[in-house]
């Protein structure tokens, strides 16, 4: 099909054609970036925690005032929690995933170096912690019973207690020792003595976003038994169906052990995850809504202008029909015209999409827009253009040749 007449016709409608092109370009640019942002959110929300999320529940509590007997009470609490029917494992810990509040510490490979190699989050783990969370130990071993340290002993003034061993994530092991097995190696973090890596777990997320995506799994576990006033988290592992029942029972036994305490939170790990990503979820939906609204507005714009052109040219269409053009040819004419305009808009839109992405990268620490978003945006807008123009084009095709013979 000869597209020269289309260009000739468009040249007579420069303004309107330019408006359509600009509108498509802007939509294309915004939609490409919005899709990219949506995908980023979805990927974030989809990250693996390494924990048995559908089996773990937590109760957070705090004492009223100071408790000098916290260590003994914590032992009693854990014994009571482990005795609850349905509870497989229970632990006390200083921090939980999906909670934003975290303990972090620098890690050095050599004692005499002044710069830290990386910053990792510190989970303090008691005897059952690995099983309570359902972590997957990929190499090494769990902590030996004689390695555990009581928090009070560690925290006494002038305490000379050292942390003997640590279990870290694979991600942290790879960061510390990129080319060799980290198992059995040592590093320095708390105190001046070396801490030996005795185990590596597949995944374990840190509670906060500190350090950004690369540091998301820089987590380490020290064999420290904390008492309930350090963070105040009790974790329990049970069967998915018994979580509500276990939480209720846990609250009861904890308040029975010592009523002078306040339960701050009790929820499943799944609920915590869902709360943690609420903002991301609502942002993703908002972006989806904007994309849909943009597509609708752009489609309406195309329909409006195409209808105008069809109406304005109905006499020429009649002449063409009278001279032997088929309905199909008239239809094709308007479809091709729209395709050309959309293509021009998409080309400009892609450049614009990259420009917007560059600006966002500078301001909001976003990644570079992957190239495959561009064809996705292009196909989307081509389709949109073709669907929108179909109605007006069909109307044009149905203009009878007799129109040519009538005076306006």
């Amino acid at each position: 099909m000869d597209i020269r007449p289309i260009f000739t016709a468009l040249r007579r409608h420069k303004t309107a054609a330019a408006l359509i092109v600009i509108e498509i370009a802007l939509s294309c640019a915004i939609i490409c970036n919005a899709l990219f942002l949506i995908n980023g959110r979805l990927e974030r929300m989809d990250r693996v925690s390494g924990m048995a999320e559908d089996e773990v529940v937590r109760v957070q509590l705090t004492g009223i005032g100071r408790d000098d007997n916290a260590e003994a009470l914590t032992k009693a609490d854990l014994a009571s929690l482990r005795a609850i029917p349905g509870v497989k494992f229970a632990s006390a810990t200083n921090q939980v995933a999906f909670n934003n509040s975290s303990w972090n510490s620098g890690v050095r490979l050599r004692q005499d170096q002044t710069h830290q190699n990386l910053n990792a989050t510190v989970y303090m783990a008691d005897d059952q912690m690995i099983d309570t969370l359902g972590l997957n130990l990929v190499s090494g071993r769990k902590f030996n019973p004689d390695e555990f340290i009581e928090w009070e002993a560690l925290n006494k003034p002038d305490a000379k207690v050292n942390i003997p061993s640590v279990i870290i994530t694979r991600s942290m092991a790879n960061a510390l020792y990129p080319d060799q097995d980290a198992l059995g190696k040592v590093f320095y973090s708390w105190g001046d003595e070396p801490i030996k890596i005795v185990g590596i777990v597949e995944h374990m997320v840190r509670p906060s976003e500190q350090g950004g995506p690369t540091a998301y799994e820089y987590s380490m576990m020290f064999p420290i038994r904390v008492h309930y006033n350090v963070g105040g988290h009790y974790l329990m592992r049970t069967e998915p169906g018994r979580r509500a029942e276990v939480l209720k029972a846990a609250e009861d036994v904890l308040l029975k052990n010592n009523p002078n305490r306040i339960i701050l939170e009790k929820q499943t790990l799944e609920e915590m995850r869902s709360n943690f990503y609420r903002q991301d979820r609502s942002m993703a939906w908002l972006l989806v809504a904007v994309c849909v609204a943009l597509l609708i507005v752009t489609a309406l714009g195309i329909v409006g202008l195409a209808s105008f052109w069809v109406q304005q040219r109905s006499k020429q269409i009649g002449v063409r029909r009278a001279l032997g053009a088929t309905r199909r040819q008239i239809l094709r004419y308007f479809q091709t015209e729209n395709f050309l305009l959309a293509s021009l808009g998409i080309v400009i839109g892609m450049a614009l999409a990259y420009g917007i992405n560059q600006a966002l990268m500078g301001k909001y620490e976003l990644a570079r827009l992957p190239l495959y978003y561009l064809p996705v945006g292009a196909v989307l807008l081509w389709l949109l253009g073709q669907i929108s123009v179909l109605g007006p084009a069909l109307r044009a095709a149905s203009v009878p040749p007799a129109v040519a013979t009538r005076s306006a």
Partner: protein, 433 residues
């Protein structure tokens, strides 16, 4: 003339109901989306201390050891207890306060109310006059209570409602972490937005419910909230005077630019002196930021909100271009009518203003509808989990801005089509009739 053009516009809308509705809807969607996000942005980036913020300054210095030192880096964001107490003793500013966040448990005497946990602020006396905190009853404390570690408390109106049913509770006693404190003041509803004085916790949250003298709280070892950075051995006591830990926010009120300069010099001298004494190791590196500079430095407006604002204005732009196109189509379709009017003696200006009135009317309708959508949008924002959500209300300034924006947008959208309409040459149009 305006009235006549307006009538013509209405008549033209009637002829093309669907097209008109589409244009109004497009403008309304664009205006609604951009006003919703702009209002949120405006609220979040506001001045928490209007009229005073330029006299309030946040103090930073660099007390860390040389470990990990990188020249040119920002100093610590908070100060050590040693430095805060030294600055407070020397009282070189018009007013000054050291503070930190905390968490406390309260055991109410009221029947049927079980113990609960509240956020608290431990601060020195100048906090209340310096930040202009309004009182319902009583007052804040003075430096004397700070020095004597008095067990006094200022509570929020909310807590007063809960514990004392909103009465004048000054002089009554309140049980905090198993200790008796005397209430000496009840605040009015007070919510500086953002909560600028401590950026560690919820930046748009409510102010704390209990305020205690810093000296009292720290010596009683009451629970502390916020961030802490330690770089040496604190020997089991991170909140001790000599602990190498930063965890305190220090604010100074300096009423004139000369005083600001003098205070800056004072901080430099203080740092130099501390280094000579062997306490500081790094080169002198101080910051003295005003409230707005501090908020800016801490990037207080969430990135998502900024992004939403950009997105909404991008959307508005597309909606406007769409309207320009549709208006152009509409006016051009009426070329012959315009030709007749021109031939009958209407000037180009008359055609132009008629077209502009028609465009403006669409904009006005879009603006009104957009305002409704913005109210709906803000309602949706208030349903969000973020702590700033409940603040999302349209105020008079934003209401006027919305209308201004709607009219401006539609007139801008009408300019080009109106210009093209008045360029119609009557002769050709008449000939083709």
């Amino acid at each position: 003339m305006f009235g006549y053009y307006f009538q013509l516009a209405l008549r033209s809308f009637k002829r093309n109901k669907v097209l008109t509705a589409l244009m109004v809807l497009a403008i309304a969607l664009g205006i609604g989306a951009s006003m919703t996000t702009l209002t949120v942005f405006y609220i979040l980036s506001g001045d928490p201390m209007p009229g005073r913020s330029h006299t309030l300054f946040y103090v930073q210095m660099d007390p860390q050891s040389m470990d990990g030192y990188v020249a040119g880096e920002e100093p610590e964001e908070q100060v050590t207890r040693f430095d805060a107490e030294a600055l407070l003793r020397e009282k070189k500013a018009d007013r000054q306060a050291m503070m930190t966040g905390g968490g406390l448990s309260i055991e109410p005497e009221k029947q049927g109310l079980s113990p609960f946990v509240v956020d608290a602020r431990y601060t020195s006396a100048d906090f209340f006059p310096m930040f202009d905190a309004p009182f319902d009853h009583g007052n804040g404390w003075t430096a004397r209570e700070d020095d004597s570690q008095a067990r006094v408390a200022v509570i929020s109106r909310k807590l007063n409602e809960k514990l004392f049913d909103g009465g004048n509770s000054v002089g009554k006693s309140i049980r905090i972490d198993q200790n008796e404190f005397r209430v000496i003041g009840v605040l009015k509803d007070w919510r500086p937005t953002p909560r600028f004085y401590d950026m560690n916790s919820d930046r748009y949250g409510e102010v704390e419910q209990v305020f205690l003298p810093f000296s009292t709280a720290v010596n009683m070892k009451l629970g502390r909230n916020g961030s802490m950075n330690c770089w040496g051995d604190s020997n089991g006591d991170e909140t001790g005077v000599n602990a190498p830990c930063t965890w305190i926010q220090y604010w100074a009120q300096l009423d004139t630019p000369e005083k600001v300069e003098a205070y800056r010099q004072y901080l430099v001298n203080y740092s130099d002196q501390q280094r000579r004494a062997g306490r500081f190791e790094r080169p002198t590196n101080i910051r003295l930021r005003s409230v707005m500079e501090w908020l800016d430095f801490k990037k207080v407006v969430p990135n998502d909100v900024r992004l939403q604002t950009w997105l909404a204005f991008g959307f508005l732009l597309v909606c406007l271009i769409n309207t320009v196109g549709l208006l152009l189509a509409k006016f051009m379709r009426r070329s012959s009518e315009i030709g007749v009017r021109r031939a009958l003696g209407a000037s180009k200006g008359a055609i132009f203003s008629q077209a502009l009135v028609e465009a403006g009317t669409i904009g006005l309708a879009g603006g009104v509808l957009g305002l409704g959508l913005a109210l709906l949008g803000l309602w949706a924002v208030r349903q969000q989990p973020a702590s700033y959500a409940e603040l999302a209300h349209l105020d008079p300034v934003m209401l006027l801005t919305t209308f201004g924006l709607a009219i401006l947008a539609s007139v801008l959208a009408g300019l080009l089509p109106a210009w093209r309409a008045c360029q119609v040459t009557p002769a050709i149009q008449l000939k083709s009739q």
